[in-house]
Each structure stands twice: as C-alpha cells, then as structure tokens.
C-alpha cells in the first residue's frame, strides 16, 4: 500500500487570514482533460465587502510605510515564490499548460515582482516635479496612492496575470481586493500562502475566487473602493464595469496585454493607481533681487 496523498483545501484570503467563503458555496472547475481542479470557494458579495473593509483598514499602515520597506517586502514575495516554484509549476501544468510554459510563467512572475520591488523607492523621483510657478511660491507635485484598488485579474492565466496587476498596485502603496481567474484559480490561492509568509501585512492583498460576474459588480459599485484595474477584452464586462464605477468616480485602468511578455511591466502601471498632489507655499523674499549672496 502506498501512502495516501493529503489534498489541499483551497480557501480565500481576507485580511491576512484564510477563511472559506462566508456563503459556504463552492464550484468545481475542470482542466481540458475534464479533471476536476478542486472544490474552489465561490465567494459572495459579502466576501467582497469584507475584503474591502480589510483593505481599507490596511491602507493607512501600508501607504505610510517607508518606500524602501515596501520594496523589501515585494522582494521577499519574490523570494518566497522562488522557493515554491515547483508547486506553482505543477499547478499550472495541472490547469492545462505545457511544462515549458509553466516554467516560463513562474520565472516571469518572480522577475516581475523583483522589477516592481525595485520601483518602490524610485517611481516618485521619476514622476514627481518641482513646478516653476511665476509667483513667489515653492510648488511641487508628488504622487500618492489612490487607496483601495479592485484588481480583476487576467482570466487566461493563473499566476502571471494576477502578479502583473497586483505588484504595481501595492508597490505604489495601495491595498487591493483581487478577483482571481475564474477558470484557473489554483495559483491565486497558493500565491496567497506566499504573501502570507512574506511580511505583507494582512489586508494589503485580499484574494477571492469565484465568478467574476458575481463579484465584479459589488466591487465596482463599492463606495469605498477608489479604483479598478482590469485585465481582459470582454467588451460587455468593461462597459458594465465603467458604468457602475461612475457612482463614486473610480479610476479605471483596462489592460489588454500578454502578461507572458517580459516587457509588459513599466512605471506607468504604478502611476495608473496614483493621485497627483500639488502643494504651494509662499517664499519670503528677503534681500534685493540682484543680491548675489
């Protein structure tokens, strides 16, 4: 008799904890061969709302962390992911990819986290400005995180789409609620375990599995969500998303990208979830205009 394998229970990730969905529901996606991927949490509206509350609670602490520290934590995520590479590759293959593609996907995901880790304490230098106003004022513009961001991850990948959207959001000091790929949810849950062991404070990233059609509307219309980043090209979904976000004027970024392309990463994705704040202060003019001291 061989040893009986211990199967994993896939749960969601809210506020740094791994509850099952409050609805008690599940769904069972299958791979191309018809094999069941597992009993996956079918999250509800209430899970969305709980996640937003957790994300808002975490926002103050995360946004005020030193940029350098945020960078170290993103780097730590990459380290943890590297250590669990084999598990992710196995999951991606099980969900239908070739071994080569799976290996590539995990490698790019790790490298992308390192890429954004490095941006944490640099993007403000590139994006900010001191503005030469005509009056006697010191005037400067800096970037600040928007707040709580809804992340609707790429449907066609299990890991790389999620990482590609989440990393610039949190690198910029935002917290987020992620809706994972409906059909390929395994890596999102395992990635939550990576986050949980990477010094990422609870609530900074919350990950929900289930039906996008069920979770996106309450997320898009939630009054305490500041922005949404969406990956995909479903016209109907984008229209619905943009319509419901008008309620509180959320900022929407829609990306139609091949995240497996190693170039699909840049500072502008960080900027998409930033507000520009401009500050003025008078300058006291002491001394003659032509004095050369």
């Amino acid at each position: 008799m061989g040893r009986l394998e211990v199967l994993k229970t896939y749960k969601v990730y809210i506020g740094g904890k791994f509850p099952r969905t409050e609805s008690g529901r599940y769904y069972t996606p299958t791979n191309a061969k018809g094999e069941q991927l597992g009993n996956i949490c079918l999250s509800s509206r209430k899970d969305v709302r709980n996640s937003v509350v957790a994300a808002r609670k975490a926002f103050g602490g995360w946004s005020e962390r030193a940029a350098n520290n945020r960078g170290q934590i993103l780097y730590r995520i990459a380290e943890m992911l590297e250590g669990r590479k084999a598990q992710f590759i196995e999951e991606i293959i099980f969900q239908g990819a070739t071994k080569k593609d799976a290996e590539k996907e995990v490698s790019i995901a790790i490298d992308r986290l390192i890429y954004y880790a490095g941006w944490c304490d640099k993007y403000t230098q590139v994006l900010s400005s001191v503005n030469p106003v005509a009056s006697a004022h010191f005037n400067f513009s800096v970037h600040e995180p928007m707040g709580v961001i809804g992340v609707v991850a790429d449907k066609h990948t299990s890991l790389i789409g999620l990482v590609s959207l989440m990393a610039p959001v949190i690198a910029g000091g935002n917290t987020c609620v992620v809706i994972a790929s409906e059909g390929l949810p395994l890596c999102s849950v395992t990635f939550a375990e990576v986050l949980n062991s990477s010094d990422v404070p609870g609530g900074v990233v919350n990950i929900l599995t289930g039906k996008v059609g069920e979770m996106m509307p309450p997320l898009a219309s939630h009054m305490d969500v500041n922005g949404i980043v969406y990956s995909g090209d479903d016209k109907k979904e984008i229209k619905d998303l943009e319509e419901s976000t008008a309620l509180n004027m959320k900022r929407i970024s829609v990306y139609s990208a091949d995240w497996m392309n190693s170039d699909e990463q840049d500072i502008y994705k960080i900027a998409d979830c930033q507000e520009v704040k401009t500050t003025w202060h008078p300058i006291e003019n002491i001394g003659g205009a032509s004095s050369s001291y």
Partner: protein
C-alpha cells in the same frame, strides 16, 4: 448688537468710482459657430442671448448648435487631425500655439473687459488673473509640443485624435485655455463648447485662432446648452472628453462613455477645507479666508468653503473676518475698486439663496458683510455661517457662491478627519507657522491641490485636479499632458 459699531468703518471706505472703459470694445450683435476655419450659422437657425449679469442687459446673440452642427465640427476636427495637424512637424505646431498666446496678449485688455461684462467677475480679477493666466497657459504648452518624449520617458507618445471639450462659466477664457492648449500641443484637434451664460470670450478666442492662421478644423468652437454638450459627449468619432463642471454631470458623462473607449478627464466639484491652526499668522490667514471663499464670488470649484479654526483662536479669527468682510466693496464689476462682482446668472443666484435659506432653517447663525446691493443685476453679499455641524447641508454640499461655513477643532487628528470626511477632494488650505505641521497636514489631506499659508493660486506649470468625486486627471504642468496622449 454692540458688534454693529465695527461696521461703521464700512461707511468711511468711500472710493470714487473708477470704472474700466468699454469704449474700445466692439461686441457684435450676433455670433456664429466657428467650424472648419469659418464662422457659420447654426443649422437650426436658432440663437440665444448672453446677458451681463451685473446689469441684466443683453450683450449679444449667440448661435445655438445642435447635433448636426456638432457632427460638422467633429468631422472638421477629424479631417484636420488626419490630414494636417497630426502630420505637422511638432516644432511647427508649437509655433502656432505660441502665436495664439501672443495675439491673446495683444488683445488682453479687450478679453478682460468682455470677460467681466459676460461673467460678472471683477475687472481686477479678469485683468490680473484670468486673462494673463490664459495667455500663459498657451505659451507654456506651446513649448511642450516638440518635447513630449521628455515628458514620458521610455515611451513613444501619440495624440488621441479629436478631443471634445466642455467648459464652465466661472473662468470662461481660462478654462478654454486649460483645455485647448495641452490638447493642441499633444497633437490633437478640438471641438469645444463654452457655457451658455459666458460664451463671448471663447468666441473672441475663435477670432484670435483664426487670426493666428491655424489650419481650418484644428479648433472648432461651438456654442449652445447642455444638449449641445451631450451631442459632443455621445459623438462616435470623438476620442476624448474633457469636462469641467458639476460632479452630477461628471457622473452622467462617465456613464455615457462607459465601454466606448473614449478617454476622459473630469474636473468637478469641491468642498475644500481651509484650516487655521492656533499658531497661524492671523491677519494673513484672514486674508486667505477672504480670498479662499470670496474670490470670483465663490464661483470656484476649489473655493475654501469649509473653514476649520482651532478653538483657541476662533473668537479672534471670526471677529477679524467679520470686520474684513465689512470692508469688501460689492458692485459694478467694471469698477477697479470692486472686490465682489455679480453672481454669474439669475439661476445661480437662486441656487445660492436656496442654500442660505437652508443654512438658516437648519439653525446655523449667519453673518453677511455690510454692503449695498445694486438695484439691477444679480448680487449676493459675502456670507458666513457659524454653529454648523459636519451633518449640515451647507457643510456637505457645494454651493458655488460667496458662502462660508465655520467649524472648530481641537487637535490635528480631529481636523484631518473632518476635512477628509467628504466625497470631494479637490483642494485644501493650511495656515500655520510650523513647518513640520504643514507637511503633516498636507500629506494627510486627501486633495489634489494643497495651499499652505496661501490660497487660490494658479499657474500653467502647476497641475490642478482632484481626488475622489472631484474628478480625475490633472490640468496644467507636465502632468496635464498625459490627459491628451497615448503611450506606445
């Protein structure tokens, strides 16, 4: 009632009238639409009147554009974009925009007087703020046209195409400049609609653009009401919508363009906090309060309409504020002594009076500056309310008039929470002598523009725009360019 004695001072402030001459202004009796480089009649044949809100006299008739006219303008803009403007050397594009700035400067006196006639704002403001800023805005963005690669490192910059722009009545010419200048610099063409109560300076701008020899169709200026604006928003061949106005209309626009792929920048309402700490230089702060709420009759989206005063200094601040209010001169906007001009329209005066009534009905205590209201025209005296709460209607809703609410606070933490407790996030003011406190407050206030020890300052190089329901996107500065480009 002893307080009344202070107001005696108001009587002594008698200035001789000093009206700006209008002799050099020749308004036409009728203005047509500026489409494809020509002044054309509206297809409906309809015109509407623009009035001087200070005298209620008619200034001119202005064409009322309908869907057909909008379509014509968009087609002209598309043609100009495809055939001319997007193909032109960027440095040549720059020179056209520089030229507009220069001709505006040459005609600045005319622009200032017409702005005051049409909008009711004081000539001092039109002359010293609106018009020079508008000219400088064109001058500033002109220079960006051939330097866009420096603004967006590591990317190829492309224009969006045709920009549909809808602007408000509070800074008519300045808003036209804010919209048109960056759009052109980035290589877009424009269809712009000024507000129905203040179309005249935009139409003079059309003459200036014509005089500058801009290729036909690059800028199209059409006048009309909300339905004209809606036709621009809903036109299939418009790539970008830029709107400044109310949050309510902003939300309608965001909904209307959902799923169309049109890019948008929305500059919307505000209810900005102006915060006076107990160590603030009180006299300067009082000037800042006055400027914050009474500048342009309070028709300012970033007006400092919610005043927060730290408890220790509230008595002295309110006393000095009332005294200062009594010295404000309200009346003929063309008079160079006038501090407070006319309310922009009869409709807006009704809105303001409605809110004043709500304030009284909800139990707040009102004080109004002692000034004589002219018999003709639309005027509202400077007004403040004390004894208000966070829940008061006049504290929560944008009034867009010379009405200030005054609240108190004890700690910095308290005022941050109160100031941020609003769906808006356009601007804020902070008055304190302590540097660390300024940085603490300016960092924690959720607003796009923060004035520390100053208020209501604007500059072409300085990005302007809000957080939350005050809209999105920035206008001005390098950051204002991103609203009009796509990055490859």
């Amino acid at each position: 009632m002893a307080k009344k004695k202070n107001t005696q001072a108001a009587v002594e402030w008698d200035y001789s009238p000093s009206p700006e001459s209008t002799s050099h202004i020749e308004l036409k009796s009728k203005y047509d639409l500026y489409i494809d480089g020509k002044f054309v009649k509206p297809s409906s044949g309809k015109y509407f009147a623009s009035y001087n809100p200070a005298t209620e006299e008619k200034l001119a008739d202005v064409a009322y554009a309908n869907e057909k006219d909008v379509d014509k303008a968009v087609k002209a803009a598309r043609k100009a974009y495809t055939n001319v403007w997007s193909k032109m050397e960027a440095s040549e594009r720059a020179k056209y925009i520089f030229r507009i700035a220069r001709i505006m400067q040459e005609r600045s006196r005319e622009l200032a007087v017409v702005e005051t006639l049409d909008a009711g704002k004081t000539i001092r403001e039109s002359r010293d703020v609106d018009v020079p800023l508008a000219c400088n805005h064109f001058f500033y963005y002109a220079g960006w046209a051939d330097k866009l690669d420096y603004a967006f490192p590591n990317r190829k910059v492309e224009p969006l195409g045709v920009a549909g722009q809808i602007i408000p009545w509070n800074f008519p010419l300045l808003m036209a400049a804010w919209k048109i200048a960056p759009a052109l610099a980035a290589g877009n063409t424009v269809v712009i609609k000024p507000a129905e109560t203040t179309p005249l300076t935009a139409l003079i701008l059309a003459e200036i653009i014509h005089e500058a020899g801009l290729p036909p169709g690059v800028v199209n200026i059409i006048t009309g009401y909300g339905d004209t604006g809606a036709a621009i928003v809903n036109h299939d061949d418009v790539d970008k919508i830029a709107f400044t106005g109310s949050t309510a209309v902003g939300k309608i626009i965001q909904k209307a363009i959902a799923g169309t792929g049109k890019k948008a920048t929305l500059e919307l309402g505000g209810k900005s906090a102006n915060i006076i700490m107990d160590d603030a230089p009180i006299d300067q702060a009082v000037e800042g309060i006055i400027n914050g709420i009474f500048f342009n009759q309070g028709h300012v989206c970033c007006a400092g309409s919610r005043l927060f005063v730290q408890e220790a200094v509230v008595d002295i601040v309110v006393k000095k504020l009332k005294r200062r209010m009594d010295t404000l001169i309200l009346g003929d906007p063309l008079d160079k002594n006038t501090d407070i001009g006319a309310i922009n329209s009869k409709e807006q005066l009704a809105v303001i009076n409605k809110y004043i009534k709500i304030g009284i009905d909800e139990g707040a205590e009102m004080y109004q500056g002692k000034c004589v209201i002219p018999e003709k025209g639309y005027y509202c005296p400077p007004t403040i309310f004390t004894d208000v709460a966070q829940s008061s209607t006049i504290v929560q809703e944008e009034i867009f008039g010379p009405v200030l609410t005054i609240q108190t606070f004890r700690t910095v933490d308290e005022v941050i929470q109160k100031a941020n407790n609003t769906p808006y996030g356009l601007a804020a003011g902070v008055w304190t002598d302590k540097g660390s406190r300024i940085f603490n407050l300016t960092t924690k206030l959720r607003a796009g523009v923060i004035w520390a020890n100053t208020y209501n300052k604007f500059d072409p190089t300085s990005p302007f725009g809000g957080y939350k329901e005050s809209g999105f996107g920035r206008e001005g500065g390098l950051h204002g360019l991103s609203a009009y480009v796509k990055l490859k």
